[in-house]
């Protein structure tokens, strides 16, 4: 499992770590039942804060992706890919086609990213509105 964190992206580090571990599971780099590096080792390897690693692991456990066993072991618990991998598989070509088109229009990576985030925000707003109270979800 190769993890690489980007402090310059503005995305919280624990979210980056969570996403990358999920990605590693989805792509089969780490398999069901396999052990993830301990909090301390991962913190040292990635030169990042152990509390942040612990937070990412807790969240992943909460989502059912990993299981934290007594005595500092984190294991892939299998529910990670369920459905999610499928959704990813189906979603990817859609996004890929859209991005190709955007690239043809001459949009830079940065512009695409911004556009995507804006659309995401609008979607969130709309969903919030249809829920009736104007509050954004999650």
């Amino acid at each position: 499992m190769v993890l690489k964190l980007n402090t310059a992206s503005g995305v919280p580090i624990y979210l980056q770590l969570m996403e990358q571990i999920k990605y590693a599971i989805e792509t089969g780099a780490v398999r069901l039942g396999e052990q993830l590096p301990g909090i301390r080792r991962l913190a040292e390897d990635l030169v990042m804060n152990p509390n942040t690693v612990a937070k990412a692991y807790r969240e992943l456990e909460h989502e059912g992706v990993i299981e934290l066993r007594h005595g500092s072991g984190a294991f892939v618990s299998g529910q990670a890919g369920n459905g999610r991998a499928d959704r990813f598989e189906r979603g990817r070509p859609v996004l890929e086609a859209a991005m190709r088109k955007l690239a043809d229009f001459g949009l830079s990576e940065e512009e695409m990213r911004r556009l995507f985030e804006n659309e995401l925000n609008q979607l969130r707003e709309q969903r919030g509105r249809t829920k009736g109270n104007g509050r954004a979800g999650d």
């Binding site: 964190l5 402090t7 310059a8 992206s9 503005g10 995305v11 919280p12 580090i13 624990y14 979210l15 909090i39 301390r40 913190a43 040292e44 030169v47 990042m48 804060n49 152990p50 509390n51 942040t52 937070k55 911004r114 985030e117 804006n118 925000n121 969130r124 707003e125 919030g128 954004a136």
Partner: protein
């Protein structure tokens, strides 16, 4: 709550007619690796001095592990369980590495021989070398070895990576991360290297002009803050953005740093017929620069 390693309340320090600290309040929970950020002259070094009892506060109070920093007897106890690495890195130049270690060991009852040999090996320091002959990187390594081997529950570091090359820098960061992970201690470090702080810290305190502007978990800050940029058909009235922390207006485009209520701000911009509204995540550097901007119209 006894969860705080450092607890500072309305701390003030005046040197002559200079107010170095003016009501500084913040807390550092035990077990955290907390970055202490501010511009030069913001009051960082003064704060560290007060914490260590090297100076007395003019007003306010401060505690380290519940002990008062302004009471001499308690300050002695604080210094026993706190290690300090300062900017000036003051060591005896005429001694050797090994003599320097011996001096430090004799002065610290809680000295950890295991950590001493671990870091001696890790940092590849030569015991017989004269301190005066050490390179800048090795001097930092030695200082760090002395601080880490004391078995301190709290490490205060004043710009620990300043002037170091990339390799030594990474080594220092790794040593700090590893120390917090294995020794259940707390680290509080001042730094100008925001990307380093972003890399290893779980919390930050940002001060300016002797006051705390912001403190909290780094991931929360980055999760909460967004830059919202909106362009309008006509320049909007300047008072349209109450409650927004920092704001730059250039003609018809307004750039704001928004914390928490991003959706509200976006909705407001749309209701004012903004032609484009962009929302982007921000880095610690951006948050920092926005907060300490000198032309800021903060009250």
């Amino acid at each position: 709550m006894d969860g705080l390693a450092i607890d500072v309340r309305a701390l003030a320090k005046r040197y002559g007619d200079t107010e170095a600290l003016r009501g500084l309040t913040f807390g550092v929970p035990r077990g955290s690796l907390c970055g202490f950020l501010g511009r030069n002259g913001a009051g960082k070094t003064t704060t560290l001095k007060l914490l260590l009892g090297m100076a007395r506060p003019t007003a306010g109070e401060g505690f380290i592990f519940g002990r008062r920093i302004d009471v001499e007897a308690e300050s002695v106890a604080i210094r026993r369980e706190t290690a300090f690495v300062s900017e000036s890195k003051d060591l005896y130049p005429f001694t050797t590495v090994e003599q320097m270690i011996r001096i430090a060991r004799a002065a610290c009852p809680g000295w950890r021989a295991d950590l001493e040999s671990k870091y001696l090996k890790l940092f590849e320091l030569k015991p017989k070398q004269k301190v005066s002959a050490l390179s800048r990187g090795n001097l930092t390594r030695l200082n760090l070895l002395l601080a880490l081997s004391r078995g301190a529950r709290l490490l205060l570091l004043d710009e620990p990576t300043q002037g170091l090359d990339t390799v030594v820098r990474e080594e220092v960061l790794q040593a700090l991360v590893s120390y917090v992970a294995t020794e259940e201690s707390t680290i509080f470090l001042s730094s100008h290297e925001l990307h380093e702080v972003e890399q290893i810290c779980d919390r930050v305190v940002i001060i300016d002009h002797g006051r705390a502007l912001l403190e909290g978990e780094l991931d929360d800050l980055k999760g909460n803050y967004r830059r919202v940029r909106a362009t309008f058909p006509q320049a909007p009235p300047a008072n349209s953005w109450n409650g927004v922390r920092a704001l730059v207006q250039e003609g018809r485009t307004v750039s704001m740093l928004v914390s928490g209520h991003v959706d509200d701000v976006v909705a407001r911009a749309r209701s004012m017929e903004a032609t484009t509204v962009a929302v982007d995540p921000v880095t610690l550097k951006e948050i920092f620069l926005e907060l300490v901007r000198p032309d800021d119209s903060r009250a």
